[in-house]
């Protein structure tokens, strides 16, 4: 355990002056304050939901619903958190989800059944992520531009495959996965996947060399390179990882919606970035928190749920979402400057 961890930490310590023990402890403390404040927001939302709609909101079915709705964007956000932590950005996540979901639901793919759909969704995601990664790491393109190009072309390809049509899934095994009968001890399979992705993501970011390298590249890429980290390969892997998450999310979306459509994953990039940022991941890189990102996703999903249960319309919903992003970031800046 300690053996693979020590060399990169040495590397980062050499070049990042803030990483001395006391500073390191403040960082940890700060992260805790941040997580606690997010939990506070979530608790406040639960109180509001419980007060306004006690019967509908405080209900097992509603909990299942909120977690299910959070799972697709949640998986995307885990991948996005890694990319942002490394100082990058992935604007193509929504488009990749769309492309993977339509590619995996064509008539030809559906002939291969459950495995065919799952395999195609994941591989298309990874493939797009690889193209992003190669362009950014080895092609020297700015992440913003490379992934913007991927956004445009993946959406275009998705449209070309579907011709704008809704591709309905006929494979019963895939559809069954979204039904109540498939719940494991009351937990929907989609939520299980989300939980597993979150736990793996947390472990990888916090307990592995890969995670430490990611933080190091985001903190100071040049320093990381001098410390012996292959920055380019690290970047390639990070965009691959984001693509993989999109592929998994696309499969979840296929199960959830029972279909593939080129409009899927609309504005996921913004939702995922927003969730990661309010979670406490630095947009400039060097710091990332999976726990925060997941809390960010849950906060947004819970807001949507409370608004829908109270029959408030989408305009109010959007205004509130914007206000919460601003408030969360302001609170973070305060906590960051005071501690």
């Amino acid at each position: 355990m300690t053996q693979p961890v020590s060399p990169p930490r040495d590397g980062t310590d050499k070049v990042t002056p803030v990483a001395e023990p006391p500073a390191w402890r403040t960082v940890l403390f700060r992260a805790d304050v941040r997580t606690l404040s997010l939990l506070g927001v979530l608790a406040a939302l639960i109180v509001i939901g419980g007060l306004t709609k006690p019967d509908e909101f405080l209900d097992t079915r509603n909990l299942q619903l909120v977690l299910t709705q959070a799972s697709v964007i949640g998986v995307v956000t885990v991948g996005m958190t890694f990319v942002i932590t490394s100082g990058g950005i992935d604007l193509s996540v929504g488009a990749i989800v769309a492309l993977a979901s339509v590619w995996a639901t064509t008539v030809a793919t559906q002939e291969y059944g459950f495995a065919g759909i799952l395999f195609t969704a994941v591989i298309v995601g990874v493939g797009c992520g690889m193209v992003n990664g190669l362009l950014i790491a080895y092609g020297g393109m700015v992440p913003f531009i490379a992934t913007l190009a991927m956004l445009a072309s993946a959406r275009g390809l998705a449209l070309q495959i579907t011709d704008g049509r809704t591709q309905i899934v006929e494979v019963q095994g895939v559809l069954d996965l979204g039904e109540r009968d498939a719940y494991v001890l009351g937990i929907p399979p989609l939520v299980l996947v989300f939980a597993v992705v979150t736990v793996i993501g947390w472990l990888v970011l916090n307990r592995t060399t890969f995670g430490r390298r990611t933080v190091a590249v985001g903190g100071n890429a040049e320093a990381a390179r001098l410390a012996g980290i292959d920055v380019r390969r690290q970047r390639l892997y990070l965009y691959l990882l984001s693509g993989l998450c999109c592929g998994i999310a696309a499969f979840l979306l296929i199960v959830l919606a029972g279909s593939g459509q080129n409009t899927n994953g609309n504005l996921y990039e913004l939702d995922a970035i927003a969730a990661a940022i309010i979670g406490g991941t630095l947009l400039t890189g060097g710091r990332g928190t999976i726990t925060g990102s997941v809390l960010g996703v849950l906060i947004f999903t819970t807001i949507t749920n409370i608004f829908a249960l109270n029959n408030l319309q989408s305009d109010v919903q959007q205004i509130a979402k914007g206000a919460i992003i601003v408030a969360a970031v302001l609170v973070q800046r305060r906590t960051a400057s005071t501690t």
Binding site: K53, L65, G127, N266
Partner: protein, 345 residues
């Protein structure tokens, strides 16, 4: 750690190539179906003067718009005397203006334009009319009546009205009936018109109350998400009107997932999957209100009639009307056979 780069590279390389080969074979969607059939012509069928019709529409990024293009093309093919000049669909106003100007310069005889944005394309409509090319404005209306010779389109208010009346008649004997609405994209005027029509119709039935309304985004994904929330919010209701059959696929999925079947559902637009569900009659979807994509076929008929200076068969006038609002018929189990061929995917 880079001890075996070549072996690992080889492994991944081979895997990537074989996955790629497999995947490329998986993009086909061919089921061997033909485009929506359309039978009755609006103008008379006898061949006349050769007419070149220029057609410009938005990018076919959803099923209904795709059906618009298919209907226009297959209709034009049926006439020996019609040549169709069709542009690459675009949602970009500047690009669509350019495309229409190209068609004007090519001196087509008649233009059929479905603007990406009606108001923004008014000027180019005016330009065509001034150049002596009559314009048939399809569905999304120009700002000025001078910009088109004839407008043909659907009736959003009528959709809501007819959906409301259908539901009203079904529930009129039920006291304290509860109705919910799953609307389309809320920042479009057409969504407001549909909701207005629906509300106006329900006013005729004092026993019915609309208890909830949520707006989805015309996509399957949003339909599923919003419907799931609505079902959680309303443990009991009697009828649901969903503005759009595409998002209805998602809504039906949410209804199935929640295991609910204690209400009747009416859809909107007229997708093939909705028609098939109505015909099977084994779920909550009992009817759908049309917003017929066959209007593109009729627009070709009108353009041909304009080019040949004819009126519409069955009307007394020598000219075609300046405005045609199509009826938003309700399709249910009794008449679904008749409409099946017009359903879009």
């Amino acid at each position: 750690m880079p001890q075996f780069p070549s072996r690992r590279g080889l492994l991944f390389g081979t895997a990537a190539v074989s996955a790629g080969t497999l995947l490329v074979g998986c993009t086909s969607n061919d089921t061997g179906d033909k485009a929506a059939a359309d039978k009755q012509p609006a103008a008379d069928d006898k061949p006349g003067k050769e007419v070149t019709i220029g057609f410009a529409g938005p990018q076919a990024d959803h099923g209904w718009l795709n059906a618009i293009n298919d209907n226009a093309k297959s209709r034009a093919e049926r006439y020996e005397d019609v040549t169709l000049e069709i542009t690459e669909g675009s949602n970009d106003t500047a690009q669509q203006i350019g495309q229409i100007e190209t068609l004007i310069n090519k001196k087509v005889d008649v233009l059929v334009v479905l603007p990406a944005d009606g108001k923004a394309l008014t000027q180019v409509g005016l330009k065509a009319m001034r150049a002596g090319i009559p314009v048939v404005n399809l569905d999304r209306i120009f700002n000025s009546p001078q910009a088109y010779r004839c407008w043909i389109g659907g009736d959003n208010y009528g959709m809501g009205l007819n959906a409301g009346h259908y539901i009203g008649e079904k529930l009129k004997d039920k006291s304290d009936a509860r109705v919910i609405e799953l609307a389309g994209l809320d920042n479009l005027e057409l969504t407001k018109q549909r909701t207005q029509g629906f509300d106006d119709a329900l006013k005729n039935y004092p026993n019915i109350k609309k208890v909830a309304r949520q707006a989805a985004e015309f996509t399957v994904e949003s339909g599923q998400a919003k419907m799931a929330q609505l079902l959680q919010a309303q443990s009991k209701f009697d009828a649901l009107w969903n503005h759009d059959d595409d998002q209805g696929v998602g809504a039906l999925r949410a209804i199935e997932q929640a295991g609910r079947d204690d209400f009747l559902m009416v859809g909107g637009a007229g997708a093939l999957s909705a028609f098939q569900a109505i015909e099977k009659d084994d779920g909550v979807l009992k009817a759908t209100v049309l917003y017929p994509p066959t209007m593109a076929a009729s627009a070709i008929d009108l353009a041909r009639a304009l080019g040949q200076s004819k009126g519409i068969g069955g009307l007394a006038e020598f000219e075609i009307p300046s405005s045609l609002t199509l009826y938003s018929a309700v399709v249910d189990k009794d008449n679904v056979d008749q409409y099946m061929s017009t359903g879009f995917k």
